[in-house]
Every structure is written in C-alpha cells, then in structure tokens.
C-alpha cells in the first residue's frame, strides 16, 4: 500500500484523538461491515459559529485514521460555513493523495464532520445553510466521485 509521507505521519501521530465532554455536536458514520467507523466531536461557539475544538475516534485502516486526523485539523478554528468547504477532496489534497481504494476513507471523514454538524443543528433546532443529511454508507457517493 503506497501511502504518502503525510498519510504516514498522520496515522503514526494522529492529531486530536479523543472525546469532547458535552460536545456541541457528535457524529458517527461508517459501519463495521465495510471496516471503518469514524466519530467526530465538535465544540462550537454558539455566538460566532466558530469550531473551537474538534476531536475524533476511528476504527479503521491507516487511511481512515489519517483522514480523520487531517479533517479535524482542517475544521478546527473555522466557521461552520467554512468547515462545510472541507470536502473529501480537500482532505485528500492536504494528505498529498490517497491510494484509489482508500478514497472512501476521505468521504467518510467529510461525512463524519457533516454528521457532527447535523447533530449540532438538531440539538439547537437550527438549519445550517448548505448542509445535507449525512450518509452512513459512502459507497454511493464514491461511485459518483470517481469520474
């Protein structure tokens, strides 16, 4: 498996591993059947909409750990609107690419963030502009993404 140096760095020294107590939003995506499960915790400042902290837990391969780790780095300190721009492509680019069979990991990371934001919106009873209900099975997204 040819992983980039950045991917290696992130699975060897993952950033922001852990939980946030009383998190503003928590989202879990993936399932054991496909071998990857990601959970994201967000601490959001209600007044400014800024993501003050982001932590993750992941069950999965090296790419799953690295994409979650990178995703947390990318959304930390951003506003919700900017966090929505952290797509799977952005995560992949930040990691200097992923082997094709691991692209679903980056989709999972993107969906994990969306799931945490969705949870936050539900709790607050608000609607986040541009946020669609996250999917648990990313294989549907993947097919459209490979073109």
């Amino acid at each position: 498996m040819a992983y980039s140096e950045k991917v290696k760095d992130h699975y060897q020294n993952p950033r922001n591993v852990g939980e946030i107590e009383n998190a503003s939003g928590v989202g879990t995506v993936g399932n054991a059947k496909c071998g990857d499960i990601m959970r994201m915790y967000l601490d959001i400042d209600d007044a400014t909409g800024i993501i003050k902290d982001c932590k993750f837990k992941t069950f999965g391969c090296g790419a799953a750990v690295a994409t979650s780790s990178m995703a947390t780095e990318l959304v930390k300190g951003k506003t919700i609107q900017d966090a929505l721009k952290v797509t799977n492509k952005a995560v992949m680019e930040a990691l200097d690419g992923l082997p094709p069979i691991k692209i679903h990991c980056s989709l999972l990371a993107e969906q994990a963030i969306h799931a945490a934001l969705w949870n936050y919106a539900e709790k607050k009873g608000i609607k986040i502009e541009g946020l669609e209900k996250p999917v648990n099975d990313v294989s549907e997204l993947e097919d459209g993404d490979e073109e």
Partner: protein
C-alpha cells in the same frame, strides 16, 4: 529500526542459501534443455529425475506421479478443472469447503459458469470440515472433493485421512491443497487416501514460480498444457530446471529437519499464543488450538482494525498479515474468518503471524512485548471500544 522480524511465512518464505547454491549451476553452466540428447543435457535430465524422486519420496509417492507446475495456483487449477473435465460424462458435481484458498474457490466458480454444480461445505468455529456433512453432500454424480490440508489464514489442519477414506469408499476422487502444509507437517498420500495434492515451492524456502501436483496413477485428468512431451505429456513446456532443482533441495532440507522444526516452531507458537491471550484482554485465537500448523498464530483483537495493527508493527520492523478488508483489496474481510462465524467487526481485527524455523525466541518476545501497547493505543482511539466501555 534496523532489524527485520519476518512473521509472514505463510505469504512467502526466503530462499535458503543451500537452495540457491544448488540452483546456480543450472542457471549458468548446466543450462541445457533436458529434452536434448547430448551428455550435458542428459545430466540435466537426470538431475530433474532425481528431484522428482526426492519430492515423490517425501510424500510416499511414485516419481511418475509428480508433475512439475509453475505454482500452487496452477496445481489447484489443474487438479480441479482437469478432473472435472475428464470426468464430465460421469457427473458434474464437485464438493469443497468455504475456507479454501481463492485458487480453489475461483477454479470452482469457473466450473460453475461452465454448468458444473459445486457444494461449498460449512466449517465449524475452529475451521474444521465435518466428515458427516461431507458424506451427506456426496451424490452419485460427484466427481471430485477438494479440501485443503491446512488453512493458510487460521492454520487449522483438516481431517484429511478420514475425508480420503470416505471419498474412496464412495468412489470419488480426492484433491488436497497442501500448499501451506507440505514440508511443514508430514504427509503420506497413500496412508491418507489422497489422489491429487498441490504444492508450492515458495512456501518452504524454494523460489517463487515453482510447484508440483501429485497425481495418483490411474487418476482421470485432462492435460493442462498441450505441447511437448514434458511431464508425461500432461503439462508441456520446457522445465524450470533451476527452480525444480532448488525446490527438491528445499524439500530435502525441510524433511531432514522436519521433526525438529515442528517441535521448535510449536514451542514458539505456543509461547506467543499464551502470552498474547493472557496479556491482552478481549483477544481470541482463531483456528483450532492443537490441530494447527506449527508456524501459524491468528489472533482476533476486538474493537480494532487489522491494517492499522500491521502499520504499527511495520513501524517496528515486524512483517505480519491480517484478514481485514483493507489488506484483501476489497471491502469484505477474509472469507475464512467469516466462515468460522466471526462477525464483520471481529473479522476486521485479526492478526496473522506465521513464524519459521528461523524465528528466534527473542523475536517472539519482542513482538509479544510490543503488541499490548499497540492494541491499547488503537483501542484508545476506537469508537467501538468507547461504546463498549460506556455500556459496560
């Protein structure tokens, strides 16, 4: 990390220095075609005959029953498709197990596409085929039963002798994929009622691209390669002389030390199994505890995924393997682990370590010392473990 600890001998082995030395003359000076008539060529022919003799003797077979092939996969393909095609008039039903290597399973599937019928037997939670189940599955039109000697992932050794006995009582040809077992445990094709047996050289310190198929005299099988007169005209093609000489040398060495190696490997294996199961909670041995290859340990760790374990071991210079989807190149975990009844998340968390006679006790200790830390670290970042702890 300078030292490499190689614990993936089921994937492939290193060529023994003595094997290489035996091969070299046939790669440089003695590179004649064994089918030619002059003295040098006849010497090569004789060397091939000797090699055939060594390999035959190791199985209690006749040299004329040994057919050189290019790998274990070829031997499996030939045995299964060859027997099916040659016996199509008698029947078009075959039986195998759910835990065979893909070389067997995909050969069976190819036959299904041709209109054959295949029964895939379940195995128990240790990976053992049930002989009574097999008896029930045999029909008047069954032409072949193919069961592996030992499983490549979980190391379980099947009741080959009993299966062979049953097959012979029922008049069904019996093929055994012995790729992982040959030169690792003793095999006697006569006493164990085996009609065809697949072997691969690179699993016992010979080079890749070598192998053979034992075909009992009188077995109906179609040719694999049409062409020249090599391999009793059944598998034509100029022989891989150096490879074959090396494979026979590797067998000679392995069988001379077989008892010693088995005892030594079993000791290291059991040391590692005992320590890992004792020191790491929520771990479980996959495969049978005693009916098991001496060099195989396969342990499932709950709440974590195999590839991330392999990467952490790789950082320490340890080469290992896993049944997780990520390592199989698909999204499904190993069919073997699913067949022994593991749910997906547990099948993803398996670690296979396959040692050899060259594995030192220090290597075993090093791995056992480090595994608990790796598992603990991965669990600390696993959402499955978090849920488990919270719900406890």
């Amino acid at each position: 990390m300078s030292k490499l600890i190689y614990m993936d001998n089921a994937a492939t082995t290193f060529v023994d220095k003595r094997v290489l030395d035996a091969m070299i003359p046939y790669l440089s000076g003695k590179c004649f075609n064994p089918s030619s008539i002059y003295d040098g060529a006849q010497d090569v022919h004789e060397a091939l005959d000797n090699a055939r003799g060594v390999l035959a003797k190791s199985l209690n077979a006749n040299p004329r029953e040994i057919y050189f092939t290019a790998c274990g996969t070829e031997s499996d393909n030939w045995a299964i498709k060859g027997v099916a095609h040659a016996n199509a008039a008698k029947g078009k039903h075959l039986i195998t197990s759910k835990i065979e290597h893909h070389a067997v399973l995909h050969s069976m599937q190819a036959l299904e596409r041709e209109g054959y019928e295949v029964t895939y037997l379940d195995v128990d939670s240790d990976g053992l085929v049930n002989v009574a189940d097999l008896e029930k599955a045999i029909r008047p039109d069954t032409v072949l039963v193919s069961i592996m000697y030992a499983n490549n992932e979980i190391g379980t050794i099947e009741p080959i002798k009993e299966i062979g006995e049953l097959c012979h009582k029922k008049g069904v040809t019996f093929h055994v994929d012995a790729v992982q077992a040959y030169a690792h445990v003793p095999i006697d094709v006569v006493a164990e009622n085996i009609d065809l047996l697949s072997v691969s050289g690179h699993k016992f310190n010979a080079m890749k691209g070598t192998g053979f198929l034992y075909i009992k005299k009188g077995t109906k099988i179609s040719n694999f390669m049409d062409g020249g007169a090599q391999e009793m005209k059944k598998r034509a093609g100029t022989e891989n002389v150096a490879g074959i000489i090396g494979m026979a040398k590797a067998a000679e060495i392995a069988f001379a030390e077989l008892d010693k190696r088995m005892k030594y490997e079993t000791e290291i294996r059991d040391y590692m199994i005992d320590r890992v199961l004792k020191e790491i909670p929520y771990s479980k041995l996959n495969g049978h505890r005693t009916k098991r290859l001496p060099n195989n340990l396969n342990i499932g760790f709950e709440f974590i995924e195999g590839e991330s374990m392999l990467l952490a071991l790789n950082d320490l210079g340890v080469c290992a393997s896993s049944g997780s989807a990520c390592t199989s190149g698909s999204l499904d975990p190993s069919h073997v682990l699913l067949a022994i009844g593991l749910p997906h998340e547990k099948a993803h968390g398996s670690l296979r370590l396959t040692i050899s006679h060259e594995t030192s006790m220090d290597d075993a200790k090093f791995v056992c010392d480090n595994l608990p830390k790796i598992v603990e670290r991965l669990r600390s970042m696993s959402p499955l473990y978090e849920d488990f702890v919270k719900n406890k």
